[in-house]
Symmetry: C2
Subunit: 477 residues, 2 copies
């Protein structure tokens, strides 16, 4: 395909994409295919000679679409949202064309420098502490990671190295292995599984601490755990606090946890993967109070800020901890400017990196701060509307508090009945939700996800839930 | 931006991209900007209200392009190639529109299933052992990772868990920490820095073993190291062999290393990040002989197989080792099919993942196997041509052997003079190369990178090198 043909095919693809997203509501949100469906639809090996473009395009509908879970259908209410916007798609097209690998400043200065400035733009939108901004001239700064899982792993590994270094100063006779065996990280029992996984990979001990009745980790609980571990001769070194948990969108108590971490020389990481985007609205910013105690902060613009995956924003208070942990510098990557501009390869697990800051630039400019705030507020309003519908029906109860775009609810009945309800809703496949469970209470999660979601889709979902509830309860009598 | 406007803006972006790539040769390959150039060209915070699209587009040329190192210029000969093709860009547009997060089968069955089949297509193109193919019905299979760094880290962590498990069977009284302190991984002193970094992160001991005169790690060297470590009570558990080293594109001797790993129950990982793409040509496939001894194999279609970054292909002989190491399964990710289809989140560091197999599908179909082979062969021929030009000039010598698309060469003079030569070539910025150093011998690397590279660009580069050589040697007299 030469550039002349690309001008035709690329534009066809733009129309195909616009057609898909304009009409996505008419597709069944959850596919009906069975595992293994696809391999029977295509050959078992690559064609020896070029296929026709037309055949490839017609296979998108024949082979791919039957197996797509339409995350951008307004009937998709599962997990948390993942972002999708036309400006971000345009930015990705440009990024794909430049197709640089921005592992060092010299490998494409614009890739590194736009990222530095965009992370500052984003930090200012959230009214983050000045020490996280590169332009503050301090040791802090932001970097785009692929996912929150990578962000917390990178952070944990950096904190691990810092803790080992400090322990060695006090106990030069201790080996790295001995010190590692003493390190303890903490999170709440509502933390995302990616943190537990990071501790398995690191590997360090992980204590999942119980939450209060609002599913929030409190200071006293942490303090007790720290003191117990210290008595055992262990070294508490890391706390992962969550703002907006996956199960129920609850918030750990930063203003209690922060000072405790500070006093005990413990790295405080904040995982606000989903909720973080909302903090650009002044009315939701109070959830971030206490961020001034943190050593690192992460949220995913690729979830709720209209920037297509992947774009996970991570800020570090002192970048030297991360750079020192990841720096292995061979000659073919050295360049004369490496002491004056960040080489982001030292800030992440992969060596290579795409030009992802273009997406942030396009999205922040084309929506503007107010446009992004409007987007967040619309989703929160839709969730509040769904909550009001649930509250009108005595058979249901809300689980947790509806603070942003997630509503957790259940029939005031057994877990089994709630499981059956979700099962028949999922089989019907008109809407898609996933469940969660806290303290053995099973519940359904209704998240506002797609950018095209309107009031009528929320009503459609609720009617669908009611229809299946009526049948289920009738059959159950 | 609604879909109506996207139909216009997206198509403008297609033309902008085609214009950029059609005319890329006329741009200076390496930018002249100084660190910090960009922040003065744009505001220090996001606009409150939407910017105009036209202003954004004109800023691409004003703000971004002056700081771009043009990896797809035919004058770019640095590092190794990174792929860029129109079919892959089209696939990425589709992937961005579907914008699913394929962490589990149910989260988009097509995303998982196309990946399974595409990894088999790719394995067949390389004539890989049957045990690596999912369709073989065995325990093996392929997965797309982001980068070779992630591939080797994931593999190392899996092997680490396997080794700990096995050591515990023999010594139930040993702690995990004690066992980890005994684990030893091996590579050659020519391995990519990402492997050493993986061992730092894991963390396990890493022995960088010396190569022979052809920069190849030999069996005897490995065997001696293993025996020495065993005598010390350590546990050799992992070898990272490289096919196509970054410095000089040399090959570790798989047929010697393989049986030694096999006899010593050592996980053999093959890193063929760059060279792997060439193995689709029967004449280069012999470099892969010995792959039948390996436990995992990785190469990057995003380097040399026309699939845009990121697409790093990793195969594992026994997927249970990787799944067991990475599986932390919360209820909101459970689904009823998880025992019959792979949930690729257990095969990688991140939880989320894009629909990257679309790129492989588009590229393999639109080029066909023969088209891809022609592409590889053309680059190798161009490298051979450059080698012939170097060989005609007595002042220069070739370092290593030119086997694929990389030519390493130097003036038969001091390191300092060679460093100066590269420095003035880089300052002139008509072509871009990076250096390397082996056994204190500094040399220049000339890689065929861009898909648009033709014989005339190779001649242009050589003339540029000669011009600077003449001036340098004259000034040096």
């Amino acid at each position: 395909m030469d550039s002349k043909e690309f001008r035709i095919r690329g534009k066809e693809m733009i129309d195909l994409v616009a057609d898909y997203l304009e009409n996505i509501e008419n597709r069944q949100v959850l596919p009906s295919v069975k595992p293994g469906y696809l391999k029977d639809l295509i050959p078992s090996e690559a064609p020896a000679h070029p296929d026709k473009w037309e055949d490839l395009v017609s296979d998108i509908e024949r082979v791919i679409m039957p197996g797509v879970t339409h995350w951008h259908s307004p009937h998709f209410h599962a997990y948390f949202p993942t972002a999708n916007s036309y400006p971000a798609i345009c930015a990705d097209i440009l990024s794909d064309a430049i197709a640089c690998i921005g592992f060092s400043w010299i490998a494409t200065p614009a890739c590194t420098e736009l990222e530095v400035v965009m992370m500052d733009w984003l930090a200012r939108l959230l009214n983050m502490p000045e020490f996280y901004l590169a332009s503050s001239g301090g040791l802090g700064g932001g970097v785009i990671q692929g996912t929150a899982s990578e962000s917390v792993l990178v952070t944990l590994l950096s904190a691990r190295n810092k803790a080992i270094h400090e322990a060695k100063l006090e106990h030069p006779e201790w080996s790295d292995y001995l010190i590692r065996s003493k390190l303890v990280a903490y999170c709440s029992d509502q933390s995302h599984s990616s943190f537990e996984r990071a501790t398995l990979l690191a590997p360090v001990k992980c204590r999942k601490l119980p939450c209060d009745k609002k599913y929030s980790l409190r200071g006293e609980t942490l303090l007790n755990a720290i003191e117990n571990d210290k008595k055992e001769g262990l070294i508490p070194f890391f706390v992962c606090a969550t703002l907006g948990t996956t199960s129920v969108c609850s918030y750990d108590n930063l203003e209690e946890l922060g000072p405790i971490c500070h006093e005990n020389n413990i790295w405080l990481h904040i995982d606000a993967a989903y909720a973080g985007s909302a903090f650009i609205c002044p009315e939701f910013r109070p959830y971030l109070n206490g961020v001034e105690f943190s050593d690192s902060f992460n949220f995913n613009p690729h979830k709720w800020l209209l920037v297509n995956f992947d774009c996970s924003a991570l800020w570090i208070k002192n970048r030297s901890f991360i750079v020192d942990s990841f720096n292995v510098d061979p000659i073919y990557l050295k360049h004369e400017h490496q002491n004056v501009a960040p080489d982001f390869r030292h800030w992440q697990i992969p060596l290579g990196r795409r030009f992802r800051s273009l997406k942030l630039w396009f999205v922040m400019r084309i929506y503007g701060a107010t446009g992004l705030q409007d987007y967040i507020r619309k989703h929160v309003d839709l969730a509040k509307y769904f909550e009001s519908l649930v509250n009108k029906d005595d058979r249901f109860e809300i689980v947790g508090e509806v603070t942003l775009g997630l509503v957790c609810f259940r029939l005031k009945q057994s877990n089994e009945l709630n499981e059956n309800l979700l099962k028949i809703i999922t089989q019907d496949a008109k809407i898609y939700m996933v469940p969660s469970k806290i303290n053995d209470i099973y519940f359904l999660r209704f998240a506002i996800c797609a950018s095209s979601t309107e009031k009528r889709h929320v009503e459609f979902a609720w009617e669908n839930i009611l229809k299946h509830t009526d049948i289920l309860l009738k059959n159950n009598q």
